[in-house]
């Protein structure tokens, strides 16, 4: 879905990996946080592309909006990945965590490697787009229907073994995947940033519901302190 977003990108873009907080219908109180896939400044309206999965009533409503419909959207919210356009990154996306990595790929102008994972071939979305934006694209599926048969962390290991020049591993996906990717990156001494997910309220850092347990015992908040964290900051044992 492409949003014509006024000056949203001009005024609030910080880095790839931010999210928009979308009001989904009248009967639902809470907004839905959705990762930005790609975004661009444009005239007269900036463009923000979101790719989301229909998981419940809210996202179902959103998916049914006709072209030209107006939405109530807060954003761009949160902090994205700390990265440089000239950097060399290993981008790892799992399932519905794949779309935000495309924005990272675009940001680095074709120099990154992408590893895309999912349960089966049909869960590997946007593969063609990644091929246009990356030096290399690898895939892994749990059932072996596409690419490596198994989890993405095996491919992360293979890449980090073969190429010592990665500046960082950047990952978005389910928590167990993030934990495994973070472990491999740590083993190779490569910095790793992860985009975390949690049930969210206000989306701006005031209500404190989207708590993420940190390694130092504190609890930070996904909407304001994240959604992207250094993997070493996160307490993976909870």
């Amino acid at each position: 879905m492409v949003l014509e977003a006024g000056d949203m990108v001009r005024t609030s873009f910080r880095a790839p990996g931010q999210f928009v907080h979308v009001k989904c219908g009248e009967g639902l109180l809470l907004r839905r946080p959705i990762s930005v896939c790609t975004c661009h400044t444009d005239e007269p309206n900036d463009l923000v592309t979101i790719v989301f999965e229909v998981r419940g009533e809210g996202t179902d409503w959103l998916a049914r909006r006709p072209v030209g419909h107006s939405l109530d959207v807060l954003g761009l919210a949160g902090n994205g990945f700390t990265m440089k356009p000239e950097g060399h990154y290993l981008l790892v996306g799992g399932g519905i965590g794949i779309p935000p990595m495309l924005g990272c790929a675009q940001y680095t102008q074709g120099k990154s490697t992408a590893i895309l994972g999912g349960r089966s071939a049909d869960k590997i979305i946007l593969q063609n787009c990644f091929q246009d934006e990356c030096a290399k694209v690898l895939t892994a599926t749990d059932d072996g229907s596409l690419g490596h048969h198994g989890f993405v962390d095996a491919l992360v290991r293979q890449e980090l073994e073969g190429d010592q020049n990665y500046d960082a591993v950047l990952a978005c996906g389910p928590r167990p995947m993030l934990r495994n990717v973070a472990r491999v990156a740590e083993e190779f001494g490569v910095p790793c940033q992860v985009s975390m997910e949690e049930r969210m309220g206000c989306g701006v850092g005031a209500c404190l519901v989207c708590a993420c347990d940190m390694a130092d015992g504190s609890r930070k908040h996904v909407c304001k302190d994240g959604p992207v964290f250094d993997s070493r900051e996160v307490n993976w044992d909870v």
Binding site: L29, R199, C207, C210, A211, G217, S218
Partner: protein, 306 residues
């Protein structure tokens, strides 16, 4: 806009309008100051404070329910000293009444916090005896009249000239009993309602959505409960009432005022719309103007029961 006098007075504290933001929904104001000038508000009930910093409960801390939400944040906050040093100076840049909200594990803790906050010059102290999401203190103080009175006395005796407002729990058989007890113990005002305890279960995993299993319900779903309780309490006590619970538009606020509230707080509505408090204020003013009132305070207690 209109000629309606929007000023209201709550326990001697005059606000430019009756709209306050509810504790726990507005942080310490920094986040929402990106959306509107905080001086537009009548008052700000700051995030609930404890004597020492708290990290709160594990996530998930929120679940959506029909026209409401359940939360179990568990009083995550930086502690009263950090509030005074870092947050109060920020809030003081604005022309808005600052109401500090406190929770203690013991009556003595309430006393210590009141002393610190009164010394720091907050405009009012809201004593939370009704948080459903913490083990010690919290709700236990709010459901037993003698304990509620003890905490109130302790707060009053350490708050100097700063008015003390006690936040009441709806999780009781008779809220007027607690209201009378805290009034007798010296409370200058009462605020109500805090959240109603609730639970939501994922039928596939058979797990409660909230990690703490239960949480506090807020949002439009609780508005009629709030209106009823404000109505009961305002007849039972003489001290003014700050009404809250499910307010998302001017009409909701007007209902609470007609039921007896002198001012109203907006909370959960902020999560759907960051501008909700401003819209509530404007909606309230429009209603007062339409009804030909000179002052919005004319709504307070104006219900005509059958």
């Amino acid at each position: 806009m209109s000629n309606v006098d929007m000023r209201v007075t709550l326990a001697g504290m005059t606000m430019k309008n009756p709209v306050v933001v509810a504790s726990g929904t507005f942080g310490f104001g920094r986040e929402y100051s990106q959306f509107f000038d905080l001086s537009e508000l009548g008052g700000i009930c700051a995030k609930g404070l404890t004597l020492l910093p708290r990290e709160g409960n594990p996530a998930p801390r929120i679940a959506e329910t029909p026209m409401g939400i359940l939360n179990s944040v568990g009083l995550q906050n930086p502690g009263v000293d950090a509030f005074i040093a870092e947050e109060l100076p920020f809030l003081r840049q604005y022309d808005v009444k600052v109401i500090a909200n406190i929770s203690g594990n013991t009556p003595e803790e309430y006393g210590v916090m009141c002393e610190k906050l009164a010394g720091a010059g907050v405009d009012m102290i809201e004593v939370n005896i009704s948080c459903p999401n913490v083990k010690a203190g919290g709700l236990a103080y709010g459901t037993r009249p003698e304990l509620a009175a003890e905490v109130t006395e302790m707060a009053k005796s350490h708050a100097g000239n700063v008015p003390v407002m006690v936040k009441l729990s709806p999780n009781v058989t008779d809220i007027t009993e607690i209201a009378r007890a805290v009034e007798a113990a010296g409370a200058d005002a009462v605020s109500l309602i805090n959240t109603i305890r609730g639970m939501r279960i994922d039928v596939n995993t058979r797990r409660p959505i909230l990690k703490m299993n239960t949480g506090g319900l807020s949002g439009p779903a609780v508005l009629p409960v709030a209106v009823r309780m404000v109505w009961e309490v305002s007849q039972a006590v003489k001290v003014p009432v700050l009404g809250m619970g499910g307010v998302s538009k001017g009409e909701d606020a007007a209902q609470l005022m007609l039921a007896g509230a002198s001012a109203v707080a907006v909370g959960t509505a902020l999560f759907a719309d960051p501008f909700a408090p401003i819209k509530v204020r404007d909606g309230l003013e429009a209603i007062a103007a339409r009804q030909g009132l000179e002052a919005v305070s004319g709504l307070t207690g104006g219900v005509c029961p059958w």
